[in-house]
């Protein structure tokens, strides 16, 4: 004869296990759905809001330099959205007909995440990385112009990580390291080196 209190204990434990299993199942379902929701919600941010002065660091293949340029672009309110818009302005300059540093058509900033303290994550789309020209200088011009533009326009950013379609890559197009997190002070020094072609 099994004591009554033991039966009750086992029943409670079984109920707890079943309840937790159901809860975990729901959590898993939510987690699986989350990226789809984000993907569905991902559209290029509208260029709305009042125009503001920003500083862009633009690469010039000939003669292989980075130049600082002032620009006036419409910026949204949110800090992350503003960061994304500023970086997209850099890519737009590269996608233009008279591009000083041509990149692949369809290149886009998917997202910018500002993670405390001081870390920014730039997520670019596959078109940018897959279609990027290969070479040490040509790749580092892209990296420096993005990182330097971000750190100049978004105060407090001192480290930048670049992802492609949300994932880490070894290099941008065979050369420039994407496995590392860039220290903006080091990139600033490199930008200084790239001011002139000498």
């Amino acid at each position: 004869m099994i004591p009554r209190h033991l039966k009750i204990g086992v029943a409670v434990m079984l109920a707890t296990v079943l309840g937790l299993t159901g809860y975990l199942w729901r959590l898993k379902g939510h987690a699986a759905q989350a990226p789809q929701v984000l993907e569905a919600a991902h559209v290029p941010p509208p260029a709305s809001g009042p125009k503001e002065q920003v500083t862009l660091y633009i690469a010039y293949d000939d003669p292989g330099i980075i130049a600082r340029r002032a620009a006036s672009i419409p910026l949204p309110q949110g800090r992350q959205e503003r960061a994304q818009e500023v970086l997209q302005a850099v890519l737009n300059a590269y996608l233009a007909e008279d591009s000083p540093h041509a990149i692949a058509p369809g290149s886009e900033i998917r997202n910018v995440y500002l993670v405390e303290p001081g870390l920014a994550v730039i997520d670019v789309n596959a078109a940018l990385a897959d279609g990027h020209r290969s070479g040490i200088l040509v790749e580092e011009l892209t990296i420096v112009s993005l990182v330097q533009t971000l750190s100049t326009n978004v105060p407090g950013v001192n480290r930048v990580k670049i992802l492609v379609e949300g994932k880490e890559r070894e290099t941008l197009a065979g050369h420039a390291d994407l496995s590392t997190t860039y220290d903006t002070a080091n990139v600033q020094q490199l930008a200084d080196q790239l001011k002139t072609a000498n």
Binding site: G135, L137, H175, D177, T180, N186, L190
Partner: protein, 489 residues
């Protein structure tokens, strides 16, 4: 003998057996050609030594192999040959000739293995190159006119000196043991002297003996006193002299500015470092171990390779091929200046960035050079790591991601020196830092060199004259930076 002693003995025997097995597995063949020198592993089948034929031919020219059932067809340049698995007969299509191997051909996973014993005559038939000299016992194959010969002359001065004159620059690894100095030639196609051993009528330098084994040549000089070694004549002359006695560093400042052509041999017979040498043109490089020297040695890494083509400079011109050509030119130019250089990727092999760093670090070079090529821009760009300089605060253990940090200043000095020499050769040069792996993982000064065409035209990049000129200027720059590299070590 109690149980513990028996157990210890058994462990020692097992370790000995493992060591001997490991040694047996390390059989290698060395191949010397005008393009490059390299070694390959030798495998045993039915008690005979075999080597992969494509591995042998790949650095010598264009080679392609196809498998058709049990037949294996090989094309080298314009010549073709057909092998059949487990058969000795080889058909040479171009001359419609047949050739018998001393043991059967092996086809394993589409890889053609040929007996090492047949290599001399087989390479001669397949390539048409002459002369082919094969030292079968020591597994050293000389393809073309590459042989480096040397003479030994004992000059009975005070102190007496043994002068070794080589027909081309040589840079052996020098190690001392009680009573002898050993010169090991791994990369040079050294040929045996007419007589060996040679006895000298001298109380200090008594004799010299030449031996070859497992792809390596060794000259052992027997001595009764510590010897000092120095190079001159652009690496063509190596002089061994008795080290001066009882001299205690009166010119210590010399040690910080070693002569580019000097290497010294320090250890005495009891294994302690020798006193500073005072011979003209030589300075002491402090010893780090009881035997051997700190060797000035560069690793050239031809970037990309195998499935990783690098930049497509044109439809038919991948970066991986151009950089290999540059790497070979640079190796040759460094060697003519008496600087040993090893090419990390001397074939179309795929190597990961971590593998490249590990291989280079294990060779302990003074300088690591990764070669790249680009169609954008003009001239040559020299890069150093993007890491900021930091002192060697971590001692011998460096974080993998920042291993280059203590060497950044030396690397920048070397890059500046290379750029300066390039400009002297009227080649546009620029020094930058770059986020380029595996430079951050190197425990020696590391530079990357990206060669672009001399003008707007891409064909200029592959012009032999341009490649030769760029390699020559880079080698001059490295030679000029040698004091900084040695001091920064």
């Amino acid at each position: 003998m109690d149980f513990q002693n028996k157990l210890l003995l058994a462990l020692v025997l097992i370790a000995g057996a493992f060591l001997s097995l490991a040694r047996a597995e390390e059989k290698r063949i060395a191949i010397f050609s005008p393009q490059t020198s390299f070694t390959l592993p030798v495998t045993e089948r039915d008690g005979r030594d075999y080597v992969g034929l494509v591995d042998v031919l790949e650095p010598l020219g264009s080679v392609r192999a196809t498998t058709d059932g049990n037949k294996w067809k090989l094309r080298f340049e314009q010549r073709e040959a057909e092998f059949v698995d487990r058969q000795t007969l080889v058909k040479l299509n171009t001359k419609n000739k047949k050739f018998d191997l001393p043991a059967s051909f092996r086809l394993e996973s589409n890889r053609g293995l040929v007996p090492v014993a047949a290599l001399g005559s087989l390479i001669s038939q397949l390539t048409g190159i002459s002369p082919i000299v094969f030292h079968e016992d020591s597994r050293r194959l000389f393809v073309g006119k590459v042989a480096v010969r040397f003479t030994e002359e004992l000059q009975k001065e005070n102190p007496p000196r043994l002068v070794l004159n080589f027909t081309s620059p040589a840079s052996p690894t020098i190690a001392s043991e009680p009573g002898k100095v050993r010169l090991t030639f791994t990369r040079e196609p050294i040929m045996p002297p007419p007589v060996s051993p040679v006895k000298f009528d001298d109380a200090v330098i008594t004799s010299a003996q030449y031996e070859e084994a497992n792809g390596i040549a060794v000259l052992t000089v027997f001595t009764t006193a510590p010897l000092l070694a120095s190079f001159s004549n652009e690496g063509r002359t190596l002089t061994l002299t008795r080290a001066p006695q009882a001299q205690v560093a009166p010119q210590a400042n010399n040690a910080s500015s070693p002569s580019p052509q000097a290497q010294t041999l320090g250890p005495t017979t009891n294994g302690t470092p020798a006193t500073p040498p005072l011979a003209s043109g030589t300075v002491e490089v402090p010893e780090t171990t009881g035997t051997g020297l700190r060797h000035f040695f560069a690793v050239i890494d031809a970037a990309h390779g195998g499935t990783e083509r690098g930049a497509g400079l044109s439809d038919a011109l991948p970066e991986k091929d151009v950089v290999l050509s540059f790497a070979r030119y640079l190796q040759k130019e460094l060697q003519t200046r008496g600087i040993s250089a090893l090419i990390l990727r001397d074939s179309d092999a795929t190597l990961s960035l971590d593998q490249r760093a590990s291989l280079a670090n294990s060779a302990h070079p003074m300088l690591y050079i990764t070669m790249h090529a680009a169609s954008q821009g003009k001239g040559v760009r020299i890069y150093t790591s993007l890491l900021p300089f930091s002192g060697n605060a971590n001692g011998p253990f460096q974080p993998w991601e920042a291993a280059q940090a203590p060497h950044v200043r030396t690397a920048v000095a070397t890059a500046d020196s290379v750029a300066s020499e390039l400009r002297k050769h009227d080649i546009r040069a620029r020094v930058l830092s770059a986020p380029l792996r595996p430079m951050n993982n190197l425990i020696a000064a590391a530079i990357a060199i990206e060669v672009a065409p001399p003008d707007a035209e891409l064909p200029g990049l592959v012009s032999p004259n341009y490649q030769q000129s760029v390699a020559s200027a880079i080698a001059d720059g490295i030679l000029a930076a040698r004091p900084q590299l040695e001091a920064g070590r």
